[in-house]
Symmetry: C2
Amino acid sequence: MRVIITAGPTREAIDPVRYLGNRSSGKMGAALAEACITAGHSTTLILGPVSTSFPSVENRVDVESARDMHSAVMREFPNHDLLIMAAAVADYRPKSVSPTKLSRSAGALTLELEPTEDIAASASSIRKPHQRIIGFSLERDGDLARARQKLLTKKLDLIVFNPLKTMNSEGVEAILLYPDGRTENVPYSSKAHFADILLNRAAALFT
Amino acid sequence: MRVIITAGPTREAIDPVRYLGNRSSGKMGAALAEACITAGHSTTLILGPVSTSFPSVENRVDVESARDMHSAVMREFPNHDLLIMAAAVADYRPKSVSPTKLSRSAGALTLELEPTEDIAASASSIRKPHQRIIGFSLERDGDLARARQKLLTKKLDLIVFNPLKTMNSEGVEAILLYPDGRTENVPYSSKAHFADILLNRAAALFT
């Protein structure tokens, strides 16, 4: 298989120094990349700014913002079979970026934010019949309904529901949701073990 | 000397996942810590979230937000002779932190920000006659006036003016400003070499 994995956070610039970020470590993505290499898949990584070390792959694209990641996914997806979106993409960015460092002396400050590109929905819109898309949904414990809604509205083949406590942790607790209503509970396991399970389920999406 | 070095960025939570951050790598702080150890100074590090590796010191305090860093500095400073504030502390934080992950479906979003604690000014306010304080001022190229204003209003003994391009780079270009109007241009040099120069100038503040 030719696989794309997106991983890490994105950063949305406020000014030359400040940004909106999120706490993704990229560890899930690194585990998925390892599992892909071991399984012999041709692998493309599209990575936000991470300090986690990633294995060497055929094709690594480093990006910073949600807009950059959106462009990279739209460019790379047509040449791949499977897209796994493990990145924690910012949902919002500042409406305007200040070209100069904002000064503290300005007192209180209001930051106007706008939604970023919906990468999952965009990828779905250009998907060919042989291609499969897996998303991740990090939500409050128990908020499965929201993960299911994302799965359906973004037309994904599988979504991984993670409770918030998974973030930055060594292990992962997950529920896999399918469009036909099937669910699979994956008990707490290492990210490496979970990556193997997910790639196995991904392969089954093509049969 | 008993020296405190603050380094790295701070993160100001928006919700459990998102934060306001800045691009500081902490490399200047790491170079200063190395120089302090080599010079035989007793060293306390107060560090925001960094991925740069730091040398082992007697006392390392890991913090996340500007509020945390303010508390740590106010607690530690009385037991030290010299405070070097190399951290890139957020100037603003959200007025309120959402206890739950903000949902994208909320559409456009306005984030109300408030100024964070002024750590330099707070440290000055509790300073004893034998103590010295060095600040950093990262500004647009040439905006020395703003660095000088910080030096005077925050009652520092020395401020290091860095142009914005120094951020995340391997080297540093700096102008040292003193309250009596003296300035010293330090030509572009490695952060390690600059750290030696700065500690030398710091020692002279006590004579």
